[in-house]
């Protein structure tokens, strides 16, 4: 019955591998979920070949949003920035490996929205970013 809080989620929440900030960085973006006050900032360093070399997130929020951020950043190290543009909601759900209701889904997807808004250089993290391609 505690499926939502699989060990991997609690573990990434309590001991995140990518918490922190990168200064200087090549890409940075932050935003929040106004409904619950979750706030996340993501910094990336990108190599000359266009691939992510380092990533970090900071902020506060629930276990789902924080674990989602940590898992997401772990998954993009070494990836081409253009590949990040194609990440979708499904990729995040695969990383988390849980089923979420509509309210908690927003927590889980906040990091992806912020990451993609940063990569695209947009002013805000909108729901359109949860689909593939240009918002």
């Amino acid at each position: 019955m505690d499926d939502l809080y699989r060990e991997v989620i609690i573990e990434h929440y309590k001991n995140p591998g990518y918490r922190g900030s990168l200064d200087p960085n090549d890409i940075t973006f932050e935003d929040e979920n106004p409904l619950c006050g979750d706030h996340i900032k993501i910094d990336l360093r990108v190599g000359e070949d266009g691939k992510v070399t380092e990533a970090a997130f900071d902020g506060h929020g629930c276990a789902i949003s924080q674990a989602s951020a940590d898992l997401l950043l772990e998954s993009i190290i070494g990836k081409d920035v253009n590949e990040i543009k194609h990440l979708t909601k499904t990729d995040v759900m695969d990383l988390l490996g849980i089923e979420l209701g509509p309210v908690r889904l927003k927590c889980a997807l906040l990091p992806l929205k912020i990451l993609k808004a940063g990569v695209y250089g947009l002013g805000e993290a909108t729901d359109d970013l949860l689909e593939d391609g240009q918002a």
Partner: protein, 409 residues
């Protein structure tokens, strides 16, 4: 006084018998968001649609007359419940939010001017904040706020200072939906009146939980919602003193709110219909009346006493959980609301894990972001109690909270 029989009361609420997962009974601790409904309320609305549905105030046929009598009967019940002198001083609205918007948009638009001082408080629900911010923006009003002390009370000394600055309006919440603080409304209203201000009380949490008399409070306007007091969603009420309501322009234009209409002008209807444009939520108003009947039959003093015992017990038991902090724990008078935080555990996670144990609590800022800013926390979890909650449910909450702490330790 008859003995308070919570098990018998619970039998009146069909939803309290459901299981939310296989074998996990529902423990509903979110009545501050919306209360559950007794069968009598559901049946009153069902009966209206089955046997009495007709449009009110206009028709002369059997159903129209019957529906009108039921609708106006509900108004009389609600008026009596809050100690109003006359039913016409009770305006039906959609909810407390609309009631406050009505005052801001009619009385406020007509009688407030640029530079006028409006006193609010730091513990307001957004519904008693945003309508005044919107009006302030439009008219250039000055908004000042009574601060909240660390204990969770309003700072009366600052209120006294603000009252010396010629306020035109004082609007405050009777009972906080986050802290549970019950503000000394009668004394605050008396002071505000001496200073020459009109008073607005947000009674959304007080009217459902203890006996509130507008006459005793001597308040000018009071807003409340049916759905937080065992009634349906979609209907609420504004109490207003007759001489103030009389002077106010209408709120929305349309049918029912007029006496006479020509192509270029209209004459507004008399009270209370002047403020009730269009076909109203008739079934819901009748349900509201049934809710008031139900509460009155049990007795508001008995309900308040029972809830007080419950919340005191819940606070003692919850405090045994390491690190758990209760917002406004030390407020001088508090009702059945406990908002709390656990170190290192986000309220969403608390609420979600409690949900998996069958317990419904609220997590977030509870429509009071400035108050959470005041206590420097982004969000909290909130357990709230009503006449149908039990000591066993509190025990289940405490055991489940212990599980939450263990999971994150």
């Amino acid at each position: 006084m008859t003995i308070y029989n919570v098990e018998k009361i619970r039998e009146d609420f069909p939803i309290l018998g459901i299981e939310i997962n296989l074998g996990i009974p529902l423990v509903y601790l979110d009545s501050t968001a919306t209360a559950q409904k007794p069968a009598s309320v559901i049946e009153a609305m069902d009966d209206y649609y089955r046997n009495s549905n007709g449009n009110i105030h206009r028709g002369v046929h059997y159903l129209a007359e019957r529906a009108t009598a039921m609708y106006e009967g509900a108004r009389a019940k609600v008026a009596a419940f809050i100690g109003a002198d006359k039913p016409k001083e009770v305006i039906f609205t959609r909810n407390a939010t609309e009631s406050i918007n009505l005052v801001a948009n009619t009385w406020g638009r007509a009688f407030l001017e640029k530079g006028d001082l409006v006193i609010l408080t730091e513990m307001e629900h957004h519904s008693n904040l945003v309508p005044w911010q919107m009006l302030a923006e439009e008219k250039g009003l000055r908004l000042e706020f009574i601060p909240v002390t660390d204990d969770g009370d309003l700072d009366q000394a600052v209120f006294d200072q603000l009252l010396e600055q010629n306020p035109k309006l004082v609007a405050f919440v009777h009972m906080s939906n986050v802290l549970g603080t019950i503000n000394p409304a009668k004394a605050m209203i008396a002071k505000a009146k001496r200073a020459g201000a009109i008073t607005v009380v947000d009674g959304a949490q007080s009217v459902p939980h203890f006996a509130v008399s507008v006459k005793d409070l001597d308040v000018d306007f009071m807003a409340f919602s049916a759905h937080k007091m065992l009634g349906p969603t979609g209907v609420g009420a504004l109490y207003g003193r007759e001489e103030l309501l009389d002077k106010m322009p209408p709120y929305m234009g349309g049918g029912d709110m007029i006496r006479k209409v020509s192509l270029r002008s209209f004459t507004p209807n008399e009270l209370p219909w002047k403020f009730e444009a269009g076909t109203f939520c008739i079934a819901e108003a009748i349900g509201f009346g049934a809710a008031v009947d139900y509460l009155s039959a049990i007795g508001m003093d008995d309900i308040a006493e029972y809830e007080h015992k419950l919340v005191q017990s819940a606070m003692v038991k919850m405090k045994t959980i390491p690190g758990l902090e209760i917002m406004g724990e030390k407020a001088a008078h508090r009702g059945g609301v406990i908002s709390f935080t656990l170190p290192g555990i986000h309220p969403h996670d608390v609420a979600q894990i409690l949900d998996q144990n069958g317990i419904a609590v609220r997590a977030g800022h509870h429509c009071a972001m400035p108050l959470h800013d005041r206590f420097r926390i982004p969000a909290s979890s909130r357990a709230s109690f009503y006449l149908y909650n039990t000591e066993e449910e509190i025990n289940h909450l405490v055991v489940s909270l212990q599980k939450v702490v263990k999971m994150f330790s």
